[in-house]
């Protein structure tokens, strides 16, 4: 009996949460046709994009390098110059750039957003916004989401270039490749669709990261502990959603 009560109540919780998230999304989207706080959007672009650049760059440089080594030693070393450069280029632009970039930014940005908005929630700053005739969805949530959608592809664009450079660096430094041949091969194998598909993914990840940060922050409850919990939930849920949606998008974009 207790078992059924538990199962029942967790199903109800799940439905409640889904409904709440759905309404949250609708209210955020409604901001499209209301007031745009351009200054806030700009500020968020700086803090989401520009300040994430170093971690994203480091991650993708080392990933590109490691990938080059794996392919070289793991595969047939015959014709390796072509194979390494092409697989690094495709792997980075299609999958690793957006996914790793997304996950790294998720850790940094959705946590920061959830903590900031969560603190505003528990210290009644969100209530205060409302009493000053400012809609918190328009003022807080929408600018972050727009910034995420715009800035993530730019970040991932950088990550693509730097990741390929990581592969190139390792190729030239330790695998004795010819640098300019490597880059030529990259250019031959890489198609604009590979890059564009990665950037589309990045945009979706930007939406997920910022929405999760805002949503969990917005419904924080009960002081510092509550804010800590929503920060954790924001990171976990955005990471899982990035991986899941990446799988779906890869299917849609490539399995045709």
């Amino acid at each position: 009996m207790k078992f059924f009560i538990n199962v029942g109540s967790s199903i109800i919780n799940f439905l409640e949460e889904t409904g709440r998230f759905f309404i949250f999304t609708l209210k955020t989207l409604k901001s499209i046709i209301s007031k745009w706080y351009l200054k806030n959007i700009f500020q968020q672009m700086i803090s989401i994009g520009y300040l994430s650049l170093p971690v994203v760059a480091l991650t993708s440089f080392f990933t590109g390098g490691a990938l080059a080594i794996q392919i070289y030693y793991g595969g047939n070393q015959f014709n390796s110059e072509v194979i390494v450069s092409s697989i690094v280029a495709l792997g980075i632009t299609r999958e690793l750039g957006p996914v790793l970039g997304g996950i790294v930014v998720a850790g940094r940005v959705s946590a920061a957003i959830a903590a900031e908005i969560g603190t505003m929630k528990v210290t009644e700053q969100i209530d205060a916004l409302r009493t000053l005739s400012t809609d918190p969805y328009e003022y807080l949530v929408f600018p972050r989401v727009v910034a995420g959608i715009v800035v993530l592809p730019i970040l991932v664009g950088f990550a693509d270039v730097i990741g390929i450079m990581g592969g190139w660096f390792v190729g030239v430094q330790s695998l004795d490749f010819n640098g300019s041949v490597y880059l030529q091969n990259t250019e031959i194998f890489l198609e604009s669709n590979d890059i564009i598909s990665g950037l589309i993914k990045a945009s979706v990840f930007g939406f997920i990261i910022t929405m999760m940060g805002c949503y969990h922050g917005f419904f924080s409850q009960g002081g510092a502990q509550g804010v800590g919990r929503s920060t954790m939930n924001a990171v976990v849920s955005s990471s899982i959603l990035i991986l899941g949606s990446n799988y779906i998008m890869t299917n849609l974009l490539f399995a045709s």
């Binding site: 209530d127 000053l132 003022y139």
Partner: protein, 257 residues
Amino acid sequence: MPHKDKKMIEINNLNKKFQKNEVLKNLSIKIEKGESAVIIGRSGTGKSVLLKCLLGLLKPDNGKIKIGDKYIYGKNYQYIGNKEVKIGMLFQGGALFDSLNIWKNISFSALQNKVSEKECKKIAIETLEKVGLNPNVADLYPSELSGGMQKRVSLGRAIFSEPDIIFFDEPTTGLDPITADVINKLILEKVNDLGATALTITHDMSSARTIASKVYMLHEGNIIWGDSVDEMEKTKNEYILQFVNGQSKGPIKIQNN
């Protein structure tokens, strides 16, 4: 009504509960325009909850709230508010925006409505002086001020747009007696000069005596007493006597929350 009294507040049979905790039970109160109402009551009796219902921040379960000539909740208790009435609110915890500096906090509403930064800063500094703060705090951030200073900034933000109705949630707690007096005078001034209606929540009896044109007592979810300060001093009502004199013995029980 022959003409609209946009500064009036009327609450009828308001109910609000959280899960099983019934906080407000059939609460009714009418606050006339230009009145400076003070609500007293023990900690946790629902005074802040009442204000939040008036502001549309918490949804009532039942009852009617009218501000000016409009009911502020529509179907299914959807908050609609009354756009014609400007309302200011001082939150119990201050609720300053910690990412904005002091003058931007104070002039927040004007800044969002395309008033120039220069103009906003100028009025913000005048407001700082009114609440007894040195203008050189204008460029600091809330975390750089003491608790009492934050409270005053918060008060400045609440009165910045010269509201028709102002809610003060414990404006003087945490302030020294001299500053508390400055704040009390300021509240009085707002009510008298602007003809604003004020609703103040306080535990501070000397503040209540200074600012109230009428005192109400909230107990167990209801307004159980409401009259002028003079009557409060004379009354034999045991609840009021116990509260005003701050005694643990009396009809108000300690263990009820």
